[in-house]
């Protein structure tokens, strides 16, 4: 590339203009990457779920509990290897500025069910042993500065009163889709304090063969069809997907805005790049006179457009990737595993290419086709 220096010199001529153009490309792609990541993160959450895990909820609705006595019957169902259960606690901590989820779980079976919730063995044992203990996600340590052994008081909204838990473990999820800002405590503690007979919010089951999930689920639902509380059993993935679809049109909205952003800024940017190229008609004529071929000139203009778009893309897409990675962003717990995916980067690269073509092609063709005599006539 012996003419690279020439391209750089051209870029450096209107420094402010070049910088502004690069900055607007970078901003457009940053926004695009951010909005699309909302969409991909929601989609990933809807896709998450082990093929070998089923979830049973009350057929009437997720907010209605199931009797704890179902646990033994579920365990005895053919195809079911393990059973665990959990309850939504819905507590508030402090001024409730930062909401986080608390679940009452059966410690031993729950941690065995979810190997993704990883914590040191001694902490695990302490959690299983101690009635009023709790384990928390790594992120809660960062947010509240909680330490192992510390007592934390949560105000119950569903279960009235102040609830004090001793933190006995800090877990790190091995899969980014799992929230790293949950608090898990003993289900038995909940029963003990409320004095109510055992109820489970939902059951999680591990089955021996993921291919048989439909028939096992049907078997479970048939078993409880005529009992006090009928069940609705499905794969864990379907359970998670049902939460993701509660967002409604949010994905569509983000996608639409993302497209509008990209289109708006690219339009303005491409326009500015074309205008600056048009000013250089005379120079192109001079270059042609001193022997530059049409093809070289075409290449030079395209290269200039490509450089502007490319630098902007690296800043915008790379910036988004690094920013969300380094700040460990998860939208206040709503979007765990918020990370710019490779597919988003690839689409961003495609948009960059499009921008290069849209902004470079017209001036490049014009430069290549420029009749020298006519153009030179305009040079004083």
């Amino acid at each position: 590339m012996k003419y690279f220096h020439l391209v750089l010199a051209n870029l450096g001529r209107h420094k402010r203009r070049t910088l502004l153009t690069i900055a607007s490309v970078a901003l457009a792609l940053f926004l695009f990457a951010s909005l699309r990541t909302v969409v991909t993160t929601l989609a990933a959450a809807a896709q998450f779920g082990s093929a070998r895990r089923l979830v049973s909820t009350n057929a009437t609705g997720i907010v209605f509990p199931l009797p704890l006595s179902y646990a033994n019957k579920l365990q005895a169902t053919p195809g079911v290897e393990a059973v665990s259960w959990a309850n939504w606690f819905g507590g508030r901590y402090g001024d409730n500025k930062r909401f986080f989820a608390q679940f009452a779980v059966d410690p031993a079976s729950y941690l065995e069910m979810y190997p993704e919730i990883a914590l040191p063995e001694d902490q695990k044992q302490a959690f299983i042993r101690e009635r009023s203990s709790a384990i928390i996600g790594r992120r809660l340590v960062d947010i509240f500065g909680w330490k192992l052994g510390q007592d934390v008081t949560i105000q119950g909204t569903i279960y009235p009163g102040d609830w004090t838990f001793t933190i006995r473990g800090i877990y790190t999820p091995t899969d980014a889709v799992i929230n790293d800002d949950m608090m898990l405590f003993q289900h038995e503690y909940l029963e003990e304090r409320t004095g109510r007979p055992g109820q489970a919010g939902w059951y999680v089951l591990r089955i021996d063969d993921g291919d048989k999930s439909a028939s096992i689920a049907k078997g479970i639902d048939d078993q409880f069809r005529n009992s006090n509380a009928a069940t609705k059993t499905g794969t864990e993935q379907a359970f998670n997907a049902s939460f993701a679809t509660m967002w409604g049109n949010v994905s569509l909205l983000m996608g639409t805005i993302g497209m509008a952003v990209v289109f708006a800024i690219l339009l303005v940017t491409a326009n500015a790049m074309m205008m600056s190229a048009r000013e250089r008609t005379r120079e192109v004529a001079v270059l042609k006179t001193i022997g530059f071929t049409d093809r070289t000139l075409f290449g030079l203009v395209m290269l200039e457009a490509g450089l502007i778009a490319g630098i902007g893309a690296v800043l915008g897409l790379g910036g988004a990737k690094l920013l969300y990675k380094s700040t460990n962003f998860n939208a206040g717990g709503f979007l765990p595993g918020f990370d710019v995916t490779t597919s988003t980067l690839a689409i961003g690269a495609g948009v960059t290419l499009l921008l290069m073509l849209a902004s470079g092609l017209v001036p490049a063709v014009r430069a290549a086709r420029l009749p020298v005599v006519q153009a030179l006539r305009r040079v004083e």
Partner: protein, 388 residues
Amino acid sequence: MKIPLIYNLRSVMQRPTSTAFTAIGIGLVVAVFIGMLALANGFRAALTRTGSDRNALVLRRGADSELSSGLDREAVSILAASSHVAPGPDGRPLFSAESYLLIPLSRRGADTNTVANVVVRGVAAAAWQVRQNLVITEGQAPVPGRNEVCVGRTMALKFPNTDVGQALRFGGRDWAVVCHFTAGGSSFESEVWGDAEQFQPVFRRQGFSSASFRLADPAAFEEAERALEADQRLQVDVYREAAFYAEQSEVLGRILEILAFLITSIMAVGAIFGAVNTMYAAVAARAPEIAVLLTLGFHPRSVLLSFLVESALIALVGGVLGILLVLPVNGMVTSTTNWASFSEIAFSFRITPALLLSGVVFAAVMGTLGGFFPAWRAARRPVVQALR
């Protein structure tokens, strides 16, 4: 002396493509700006209109939503007998003890996987007078004691089997849809209403979730609040109904607004850069013209003003374009889950004149900012150099 506006108009006409590109770019920014704020606006409107200042809402102490609250029958009868409850025309208290239930329903037209948690509100007969702005638009109100429900207008749009005369199945039983109602655009329109006494055995609920009543004296809310919260038999929190529902919209409303400002401010910076670039190019291309203007005796300030006006003009065209682009979404109904109440809430984009005005102002600011530095440069050009 001022440079006539026609000069700017003609110059703009000289470069129709680039002007159009810039205007469209700014137009899209304005469209997204107005659209997102209209969304936040509509969401807040749906929830703030839900409550009335003349009503009080009673929840169990510490509960932060109707879903997590619970009141037993004894508490309900104590509340209903309170002197702070206004009597209705028939002498009975304007008091409604309600069961707040959530049921999963599949949305209309979508595959069965996309469920939403719909609010089923068991109410007392008085609820139709207590709650605000309720109008039955089709059919007759459910008769107490029957398996009948009334469906909110936006809920009926979004879910199947909700027409009057159809049977809606939930809680393991069929319910006859006997009417549709509106509630002044509030979130009640996303709900299904029926007789609380009918729902309780079906959903195996012993008591109620919350109670709503008309204040005997709306000005004496604090007094009612103090009296009821001090009652040892009750253990309740008393809210002004309007304030309670407004607070339920707080989190999601704020998220939408922050998102709107974040996205549009980043877009605006991009658009301003674009406008700056366009104007720089315009100034550069017209260097000889500017020199002539200065030679003719126009003050540099006039040149500055003229270019600023030109830039603002392009942006204003963009602003109007943006308004035209975004107007069709006005009134469009969308829905999401309000995580504060864990329920599906439908709401519409609400574009207000004030919002349109702020869009135009936004466009003008973008144009003026974008035009300033190029205009400044144009005005300060040494005449001799430019004329060369």
